[in-house]
Symmetry: C3
Subunit: 138 residues, 3 copies
């Protein structure tokens, strides 16, 4: 049994889903681990990780639209030191989460046909985000 770990860096430019499936798959292939457990971890409190539909771009817009409507910007928050999108970003991160696992078999992630892995940026301004990828297996 062995393990491998890397930090992936993603440049974001506003609230959107940034697909990282191919970046992760490429790194996983290099580790040559055939069977195991892959973990992704987002090192932020205003950006999160999500596995969802990767075929229709409208799905991504509807996901963001729901988050935007259900966790609206506004004057209801006590914490607003970084602007109106600050506290909603923390709440949306709470709802979507910062760690996910995908089992590995045959040297590939066991994703379903329609699943893609996304970093979700919840802030309006550009950010540099870091994801830690870790795999254990053989």
């Amino acid at each position: 049994m062995r393990q491998s770990q890397i930090r992936l860096s993603i440049s974001t430019h506003g609230q959107a889903l940034y697909e990282v499936t191919q970046d992760v798959a490429r790194w996983l292939a290099e580790t040559r681990i055939e069977i195991g457990l892959l973990t992704l971890f987002c090192r932020h409190t205003s950006a999160s990780l999500l596995i969802n539909e990767n075929a229709a771009p409208a799905v991504q817009r509807d996901l963001l639209q729901w988050l935007s409507a259900s966790v609206p910007e506004g004057s209801q928050y006590e914490h607003d030191s970084e602007g109106p999108d600050d506290m909603p970003a923390h709440i949306r991160t709470m709802l979507t989460g910062v760690s996910i696992n995908v089992p590995v078999a045959g040297g590939r992630m066991e994703l379903g046909t329609w699943q893609g892995i996304y970093l979700v940026e919840h802030r309006r301004t550009p950010h540099q985000r870091e994801i830690v990828a870790h795999v254990l297996g053989e």
Copy 2:
């Protein structure tokens, strides 16, 4: 240290919680892993995994009712190619997630007294769903 992996198949017939605790426990017992980490992964974007109360059936109805009221069907979605329950299913999957971990000790999952593991089906029509179970330990 060793690992084991299996795909569990679940037939669903409408929006409901389908308990898989016993299926997972049975497979885990067969692996004879005493201490380790169990991971479950749902290979879909309109069905998810949930650990919640397994005693009172009313809890399950209330959980689904909240999802239904907070992520309603309607004409507000851009993506509706598979019908009115399509996009809400993706959003409800986002909120509940597709991967969970349970530590293993004494050959059993370390679940609390009231915890059960569920596949949550978010679509109205029957589906065949796949969960990948993976365990690492010794």
Copy 3:
């Protein structure tokens, strides 16, 4: 490769976020695992785990306020055997989750600068809560 596991016990006194970052970090240091995967699992259905901002206390109040407003107490629930905060606690646990992972490097959790780990208590009365911590690595 080796693993270690422990149960952490947390006394709660009402709906709040209880930070466990330092408790977990101390235990991790004792295991002397340098590189690996840390998993935390909450053994309850009305308390959950969360990684979020640990600098401004107002963030914690706003997170709880959103949960309180979006999953309100009230007469709309079928399940209310333990009082008005019973069913909202199960729903808030569903939304925030009971298992999280953090990769380990250099003997430390790979948390970002602003990330803290919290047990979220969703019940009003005092409870004794258990978190299982598990680490795999070397």
